[in-house]
Symmetry: D2
Subunit: 265 residues, 4 copies
Amino acid sequence: MKPYFHFLTPSGNSSVVQGPPYHYGADFITVYFRSPPEKLQYFLPDPLKVSDGSAVCYVSDFVCTISDDDSDAPYSDPAQSTYHEAAVGIKCTYKGNPGVYYPFMWVDRDWSLVRGWSLGYAKKLADDIHLTRLHKYIPKVPYYGIGTKLSGYCSRHGSRILSVSLEITRKGSSKDLQSAPSVYARRYFPSNMEGQDSVNELVEIQKGNAQLGEEIWYGTGKIDFFPSRNEEVSMIDPVEPMYGLAYQFGFTNYGSKVLEKYAKS
Amino acid sequence: MKPYFHFLTPSGNSSVVQGPPYHYGADFITVYFRSPPEKLQYFLPDPLKVSDGSAVCYVSDFVCTISDDDSDAPYSDPAQSTYHEAAVGIKCTYKGNPGVYYPFMWVDRDWSLVRGWSLGYAKKLADDIHLTRLHKYIPKVPYYGIGTKLSGYCSRHGSRILSVSLEITRKGSSKDLQSAPSVYARRYFPSNMEGQDSVNELVEIQKGNAQLGEEIWYGTGKIDFFPSRNEEVSMIDPVEPMYGLAYQFGFTNYGSKVLEKYAKS
Amino acid sequence: MKPYFHFLTPSGNSSVVQGPPYHYGADFITVYFRSPPEKLQYFLPDPLKVSDGSAVCYVSDFVCTISDDDSDAPYSDPAQSTYHEAAVGIKCTYKGNPGVYYPFMWVDRDWSLVRGWSLGYAKKLADDIHLTRLHKYIPKVPYYGIGTKLSGYCSRHGSRILSVSLEITRKGSSKDLQSAPSVYARRYFPSNMEGQDSVNELVEIQKGNAQLGEEIWYGTGKIDFFPSRNEEVSMIDPVEPMYGLAYQFGFTNYGSKVLEKYAKS
Amino acid sequence: MKPYFHFLTPSGNSSVVQGPPYHYGADFITVYFRSPPEKLQYFLPDPLKVSDGSAVCYVSDFVCTISDDDSDAPYSDPAQSTYHEAAVGIKCTYKGNPGVYYPFMWVDRDWSLVRGWSLGYAKKLADDIHLTRLHKYIPKVPYYGIGTKLSGYCSRHGSRILSVSLEITRKGSSKDLQSAPSVYARRYFPSNMEGQDSVNELVEIQKGNAQLGEEIWYGTGKIDFFPSRNEEVSMIDPVEPMYGLAYQFGFTNYGSKVLEKYAKS
């Protein structure tokens, strides 16, 4: 293997994560919502333009690969193969092309953090991301169905940052998913002294292999954003939830195509 | 609600866990093994007798309820509804009646710890219990099937205590499960000064509502126990793995029936 | 060693904690406050009587021993020798004898939890307890002195439960410490089925070896209690902070003397 | 504030960390050791040359600042002001100039991770870094002095990676510290697709404000490196410990001066 990131040893075996492609399968509790467009625009890098003020918040439980060259990792190092993620995404356009940009994404593993950064996802580490899980064989507790309730939260620095919840009202379908044609992101690495290189690029994540799970559940969604010392997600309040979904989704990230290079800091 | 444990407030709303019954649904990676019977006997409280030297080790991912009076908890407090558990169980008999006794059980939530203690399970808190998870929709990674490999581990105080792994060789069936007719356990609460009450009881866990998942996978199992400063599980080495299973199981714990009261310490 | 708690092996070496005495040295950020006496009385078990409505909240960083028979533990198993604790204590009397009762105490280690329970402390596990630390040799940041500000928080189940903060206004002295002559507590272990023993005792913690650190800092205190699904501390609002202290304190807990045995549940 | 890293909002208030300078005060348990020079050379990037085969391993407890523009952070967000760090450093030369390079550094906070990366430190996230702490006022337990024993460990992905320990034999002095005139490091940010910028620089950390604590303790050191799936530190075995120190140290990092730019990947 080639080292992709620290620790940069000749063998590549200590690299916190390997290079793409990465394959993912995830369970989502997703709530679509509207916020004042100017509040959303504030969190979009130029020249992304907010769409209609619609946005998305999810909490999720991920299974993933680390590298196509290390297909044994989920078995031989289970700590490298699952993580949780919470995020807020804003519907927007780049030169008229519709997509989504995630200004806020939290995960609970370092390798997911750096993998995200190298792709362009704006990630920080959560203390805890937790979702209601349902189990097919637990007695007395309903499995997915009308009336079932689910929720999830993300906390950091000892404070809750966001909660989402969903009360299922009907079976959903693929039409209920507001899939974005493009995912815009920002590859960034700062300089702290003259003479250093740095990275500051608007990119489009290169995705593929989309596989939507057969069971999709639709319902009433609820979102709470909380103020916190090192977070600003609550600045997009007031939030008007549209509806929520519970579903499973698989996909591949191949890398990031550069759209624009920003002036370096 | 009635308070079941600390914090013992009049409302019961601060109780770390409520009273039984508790309902559970879990995903298990289980490996059956043999150890020298006298090594297993060492960890059995009188008058339990080791059976044939067979035993079990599992890592698992649990969904559960906290109380029949608080059916909303998995939704309104997801942190109260899932946990991970690793354990070692020894096949044994009580007055000739076959069962299993778990001298070592680790979990990752305080409420699971105290709930276990009140039922009689010997639990300590793990730093981390982690299992390979498979996802139906992740591209390029096989789901359950022949050749699939899974593993899990438990760590505490910064050291790995045990690892189990499984390579699936065929579909399994309910006959592959070595279900114990009885689960023996020990309710214990110490005294530290004359005049105090204490608890020291051999009990049988009162179980019901067993529901075995349809998909059972059978394969080659592997177990590693590691020495650690505050642990003794590695004393049951050498371990001879028999086979392993991946399956889902649901059940209810109603409480614990006293079999014997030990002299109090 | 004798086993004191699970895992109850013959050697005692797997016991999550050993029996008392326990020795402690701790750094405290403490804020004294007043709340409506009837709100405090609500959280006191009979026959404790609230005093004048004064109470205390602290966050703290503890160093401790596990057993007089295992003096090597802090060296050979550092995970067994430090923990953080946050607590709320209510000034009260037992048959006219003044003391303090802590209805709410959170810690971040399992062995501290069970040790506390066996002594009678009402403990639950925190996600995170974090305090401002000052360092004598960090450049540009003031060490303890007038104007220095400190804070700490406790979170559980992904939510902040409490924050305390202190702005130092002067050197303090031992007279500023509102030491309670007695610490009242409740040893409790529930039954969940007829025929089981249980424990339900009002006790007085047996303390000794009190050593107050030379440096005591006095200042303006602030307390925030937050509502949370499985917590009730915010029910004692409104809180009127009196003053705060930063200090170091060492002591020994020898066990618990039974004052009353409650009817068993 | 200016955003220094994700989340890159206009206000800079969501940035996981701010730009330098950073001020630090830390407590170290340090053991100096020798390993075969060619094994150490393996982990040095060109053109660094291993010195005499001497190296250092430490575990440490850090207090720090986040930004000179946010001096209130340690008070208002304590989670942003302390972390633990374990590291292995190799004595080496750059064009004949002696220094140290740390191929392996683990921390327990995301902001320490990214701050380190932007400076050039090779950091990954630990599950747990834990040190023996001594407390001046704990009864029956000796404070720093001849015969006192201390240890620390670092774990990741559920496995212990390293342990260091120290038994104090005498008071030490500043002469016992093997301070490196220069700290070499590597600023690195990968590309994953053609057209992307990337960063790959050999740098020298710009340090200042060194303040060595008055109390330095010298003794017998011990180091254990353990194999782990995503780590290679144990490849530098056999390790021959020279001696160990316990001390406090403060310093400032101002940024990183570029020494060489590597070909980009």
